[in-house]
Amino acid sequence: MSKRQTEVPYGTLDLLVLKTLETMGTMHGYAIARRIEQVCGDALQLSQGSVYPALMRLQQEGWICADWGISETNRKVKFYSLTKAGRKQLLVEVANWEKATALVARFLEESA
């Protein structure tokens, strides 16, 4: 839908968000963005804001849920956590990702 290119490879942001929530438990949007930045380090150019559309999408799919809470700066924010369906989806996404990377890797090897 959007004409802009995300800095993160297409479709991987969902996976990163899900994996973050699996490892870290309940978190708010800023913490999720920071965590992804820290884990990936310089390898990734992430606009922190782009986690919010992804969070909305995952929420609509029913993979994560959101609850209102208070941030460290005493402001109302949404805290996100993984649902049961989200855990299942994460397994699927990881499997898909591994399959895809394995495929691409083999292809590159063969062609080299």
């Binding site: 800023y30 606009s47 922190q48 804001g49 999408r57 609509q60 941030s71 402001r75 109302k76």
Partner: protein
């Protein structure tokens, strides 16, 4: 996209504002946290804020994407356009009212009309498995199917491998004591199987048990829902009551559900019991309805019935008569009704088309004034699709509002029209706004949207950008004006077709009105009575009643003359019988109408030769008959009998009660001038009149010639009848004029309906024409101002506008006449003594549309003449 997300997206659409607010607060919290972290790392507050913003990325872009993700973009756009449109409609209530009113009228009238078409012609009958329902007849060769006899019916009924249920039906009237004057009720005599034929289960109680139509059964009756409501106030304990019919108590055993049977004339049903002395094959009085067994086809049933007919060859009276099985639905809707309904539907579709054209015109006119806005939007980068989308949304709003109002209009129209049409429609026709009808209304809205919305929006948004911007300040609006003129020409043409049709129908109706009925119409009042078998068991008792009543009636103040007949003029003869000449085997059919000695003089039917029916022609006296000129002519041309008076002929005389029909040799004693026994539009029929005393009837009509206003004498007539028989109710109180008008209903209804549609069409065409002319005048103010400044007189300006109007009207007229030439032949069967290409009717149509054109042009022309050159030129300069 998963179903889950579609649902979520729809929800998000409704909670748009809240979601935006939530996102906003999340973003703020995010930035705060980022700032705090940066400050902890040692940055200054200013640097921290900038860093936080930088690492967040574009906030507005993110919000856009958020909206894209959570919902459907086009729907949000649509909703925005809708809101915009509603607001702009509210700003221009005149435009909104006119367009919505036009659409409501067009869609409403069409929806109402479709409801009639659907109920009468399209929907299956409102009974379970209606395709298994049949009527069964005896069929004389080369004639309409005929009723059957008791014994033959019983033979049919035994064919239970074909018929699951078979029943007779015969309308009756009965008197019901109500305290004051006795009431006259309509009901039906039926077999026990009757309701099985229709597959109707009672609302309360039960319907007839099989043994209840056998001799000796107790008297029972089933009521219709509406009868139960009106007479018993819907009392749930009604089964405890007896209903006294003609003085005999009948146990109420059940009440039917509301629905079709409430539209039937009958309010009660009781079993028809064949008494042993009624079992014969002579009296053809039984109409038969049946339900085929499941799996038995019409063809199989016919084949079986033909075999049965062959096996009965020895006993059947009419040697060359066959048996016929036809679908029940076949005879429900007559040819005239079918044609009238299609005609009215066609007419109303034309009205809708014209209404659409007007709306399209209005939208175009509005579009012309909005060209600048559109051009600007296009210049600012709105895509062509987006502009068309916006214009279509606007039309959609108009159409939806118009459609909703149209459904309300349809409801009101049906409510008003249903009672007027009830008598003309079959009892199975349920006029209601059901889902099918609403579906039609929705389809009409879609069609209107395409006709009145899509075309103008293409027109407006495809015109060239630069043209619009250049022209905007100046006058004419080029191609849009041409399209609008074309639309008006089409409107005029369509209304010309309708006006031609209406003019033809009105001329036909006028012709029909002028047909001489052959009887006195003014100062005549008529009533019906039915002599119950309980009080009048014998022909003699009935004859005594006729004599006593006529004597009393003539003594009523204000009554000039009074007579009794079996049937009124224009309502048929009552009996179709065979007549034969002695020594001639070949008989022929005549209408037999029993009348009393004063019938001819009361209705001023003159004698041509011989004598009329006289007081001396009583039960014991030699039987006589008076014939009409038509029959005399037939005797003369077919049998060479120049003077029929004095001749003896054989005629089948109907019986009285259980007394069967018999062939009697009667002497022709006179010839009368033909009265119209059938409808005014039908050719004269051969009719014979027997003295009522010699062929007594239970159902009779009183015909009273009064000195003054006939309705004033009604109470006197009732009193006179009450003196003879206080238990006998009188019904159908109508003047002869009303009887005549009613006989023309088949022609009047479609005529007035098409006439009304033609009027509306002309009005709408005038509106359209007015709109275009007024717009042209407004656009040409400057040109007109210059011309007037150069010396043109107001008269010249008026003439120019009217010329403009007449050009459009003439173009429409030519097209319309071509259409009318092609189309009016479809109403040929509804026309009486008028050619479908009648020049007078076409002239009337031309003149009236020209007048409409002049009227529509008059106001804009006056406005043009009032243009003040000074102001106009200064305004534009």
């Amino acid at each position: 996209m998963t179903v889950r997300r579609v649902v979520a997206g729809l929800l998000a659409l409704m909670r748009k504002r809240r979601l935006d607010r939530e996102l906003e607060s999340e973003v703020l919290a995010h930035l705060e946290l980022a700032e705090r972290d940066a400050i902890e790392r040692g940055a200054s507050p200013e640097e921290a804020r900038r860093a936080a913003r930088r690492s967040f990325g574009g906030i507005e872009q993110m919000k856009e994407e958020h909206r894209d993700q959570r919902s459907f973009r086009w729907m949000e756009t649509l909703l925005r356009d809708l809101r915009f449109r509603l607001a702009s409609l509210a700003r221009d209530p005149g435009f909104a009212a006119v367009t919505i009113g036009l659409l409501a009228l067009g869609i409403g009238a069409n929806t109402a009309m479709f409801s009639i078409v659907d109920a009468v012609l399209l929907k299956p009958l409102p009974f379970p498995e209606p395709e298994r329902m049949v009527r069964v007849w005896e069929t004389p060769p080369n004639s309409l199917p005929n009723a059957t006899t008791t014994l033959t019916f019983l033979d049919w009924k035994r064919q239970d491998d074909i018929f699951e249920a078979l029943s007779v039906e015969r309308p009756i009237r009965a008197a019901m004591a109500t305290g004051g004057d006795p009431a006259r009720l309509s009901g039906k005599l039926v077999s026990a199987d009757y309701f099985k034929v229709f597959g109707v289960k009672p609302r309360i109680g039960r319907t007839f048990a099989p043994e209840e139509d056998q001799p000796g059964a107790a008297r029972v009756v089933v009521l219709s829902y509406s009868f139960w409501q009106t007479r018993y106030g819907g009392d749930p304990d009604v089964l405890k009551w007896d209903l006294a019919l003609d003085g005999e108590p009948h146990r109420i055993i059940g009440v039917l559900p509301a629905g079709s049977f409430d539209r039937d004339e009958a309010g009660f049903w009781k079993p028809l019991i064949f008494a042993p002395d009624q079992l014969n094959r002579i009296q053809h009085v039984l109409h038969v309805v049946g339900r085929l067994r499941a799996g038995v086809s019409l063809e199989q049933a016919r084949a079986k019935m033909n075999m049965l007919r062959a096996s009965l060859a020895g006993v059947i009276e009419g040697k060359d008569w066959g048996f016929a099985v036809e679908p029940f639905a076949q005879r429900l809707v007559g040819d005239t009704l079918r044609r009238s309904i299609y005609l009215a539907f066609g007419g109303v579709l034309v009205v809708l088309l014209i209404a659409c054209a007007n709306v399209a015109n209005l939208v175009l006119a509005k579009g012309a004034t909005r060209r600048k806005e559109m051009a600007l939007r296009a210049a600012l980068g709105a895509s062509r699709g987006r502009l068309i989308g916006q214009l279509l949304t606007e039309s959609l709003v108009l159409c939806l509002l118009g459609g909703a109002a149209g459904v309300a209009v349809a409801y009101l129209l049906l409510d008003a029209a249903a009672p007027l049409m009830a008598a003309s429609l079959p009892f199975t026709a349920d006029l209601s706004l059901d889902l099918r009808v609403l579906g039609f209304a929705a389809a009409a809205v879609m069609a209107v949207l395409i006709l009145a919305g899509l075309l103008p929006s293409l027109q407006t948004s495809f015109s060239k950008l630069s043209d619009s911007l250049n022209q905007a300040a100046r006058g004419s609006s080029g191609s849009s004006a041409a399209v609008r003129r074309t639309i008006v020409i089409g409107e005029v043409a369509a209304s010309v077709v309708l006006i031609c049709g209406a003019a033809l129908l009105f001329k036909s109706l006028a012709n029909l009105q002028q047909v001489d009925a052959g009887v006195r119409i003014d100062h005549v009042i008529t009533m019906s009575a039915d002599l119950p078998s309980t009080a009048y068991p014998s022909p003699e008792s009935a004859a005594r009643f006729y004599e006593a009543v006529v004597q009393r009636l003539r003594a009523v103040p204000g009554v000039e003359q009074a007579g009794i007949s079996h049937r009124l003029p224009l309502q048929g003869e009552g009996w179709g019988e065979g007549m034969s000449l002695p020594g001639v085997t070949r008989g022929f059919g005549v209408g037999l109408k029993p009348v009393d000695p004063w019938y001819f003089s009361t209705l001023q039917i003159p004698l041509v030769s011989g004598r009329g029916i006289e007081d001396r022609d009583r039960a014991g006296a030699p039987p006589v008959v008076v014939i009409n000129q038509e029959l005399a002519r037939h005797l003369s041309s077919e049998f060479g009998i120049a003077n029929p008076v004095g001749r003896t002929v054989g005629i089948d005389v109907p019986g009285y009660g259980p007394i069967p029909e018999s062939v009697v040799n009667v002497q022709i004693v006179g010839v009368i001038r033909s009265e119209r026994t059938g409808g005014l539009h039908r050719p004269q029929r051969r009719a014979a009149y027997m003295p009522l005393a010699q062929a007594p009837q239970q159902d009779i009509k009183l015909v009273v010639h009064t000195q003054s206003e006939p309705l004033a004498v009604v109470s006197g007539i009732r009193e006179a009848v009450r003196q003879v028989d206080p238990n006998l109710p009188l019904g159908d109180v109508r003047t002869m004029e009303q009887v005549k008008q009613q006989s023309m209903l088949w022609a009047k209804q479609p005529t007035w309906v098409v006439g009304a549609f033609a009027g509306v069409a002309a009005l709408l065409a005038a509106l359209g024409l007015y709109g275009v002319l007024a717009h042209a005048v407004a656009q040409q103010r400057r040109e007109i101002g210059i011309r007037m400044a150069l010396g043109a007189q107001p008269g010249d300006v008026v003439a120019q506008v009217l010329r403009n109007a007449m050009t459009l009207v003439m173009a429409g007229l030519v097209l319309g006449l071509l259409g009318a030439f092609a189309l009016t032949r479809v109403i040929k069967n509804l026309l009486f003594n008028v050619s479908p290409l009648d020049p007078l009717a076409f002239t009337v149509a031309c003149v009236s549309i020209a007048l409409v054109g002049l009227l529509a042009g008059f106001v804009p022309a006056k406005r043009a003449a009032g243009v003040d050159p000074v102001t106009t030129l200064r305004d534009e300069g």
